[in-house]
Subunit: 91 residues, 2 copies
Amino acid sequence: MSDVFSALSSPVRREILSMLKDRDMTAGDIADHLDVGKSTLSGHFNVLKAADLVSTSRSGTTITYSLNTSVVEEMLAALVGMFGHGEDEGN
Amino acid sequence: MSDVFSALSSPVRREILSMLKDRDMTAGDIADHLDVGKSTLSGHFNVLKAADLVSTSRSGTTITYSLNTSVVEEMLAALVGMFGHGEDEGN
DNA sequence: ATATTATTTCGGTATTTAGCGAAATACAGA
DNA sequence: TCTGTATTTCGCTAAATACCGAAATAATAT
């Protein structure tokens, strides 16, 4: 859980995830849309992979990133479990 | 958003929030349940306040913390907005 | 005014993080 | 094998974070 939340705490990484929601993208593709160096971006990818929020597939020299929807859903479920068990929300 | 996620990225802070879900508690109360120094805990409180996840009320020398349920709900909504707009989840 | 209790601020150290450019690696094609 | 393209790893620096104990602040009571 900590890994997921700290991954989400960076605007750059949230932007990456947001792009991946729409379509899978290569590292270079993503780099073209963001204003950080490629090596920096690679570090962000590592954080996202460690949190299991994205997965990769290689095709030749290009690596394609895709969003791990299930992990996002697990996190949402965990949040609901953490905060959503109150009894007095009648709205 | 960044503030909320980075606040949630600490296990100590998540534990605090989890306790506050059940009942309001004073700083000292919370300190008795966690294995960190009071000054450290005070730092965590500042992070939670900056993220607007908790609010405080003073009564004499004791300060009572309570969970800001609405902010949690807003965050959940933001997450759904970020990840939950896919069209192909038929389950 | 002084003492007591609750909490925060201060000063310090150690660890983690984000960022960069340069060099290294991985693969495909000539 | 050499070249080109895509991506990552390696050093490095700067800034942020977590932690502690000691000192400071806040409020109440004597």
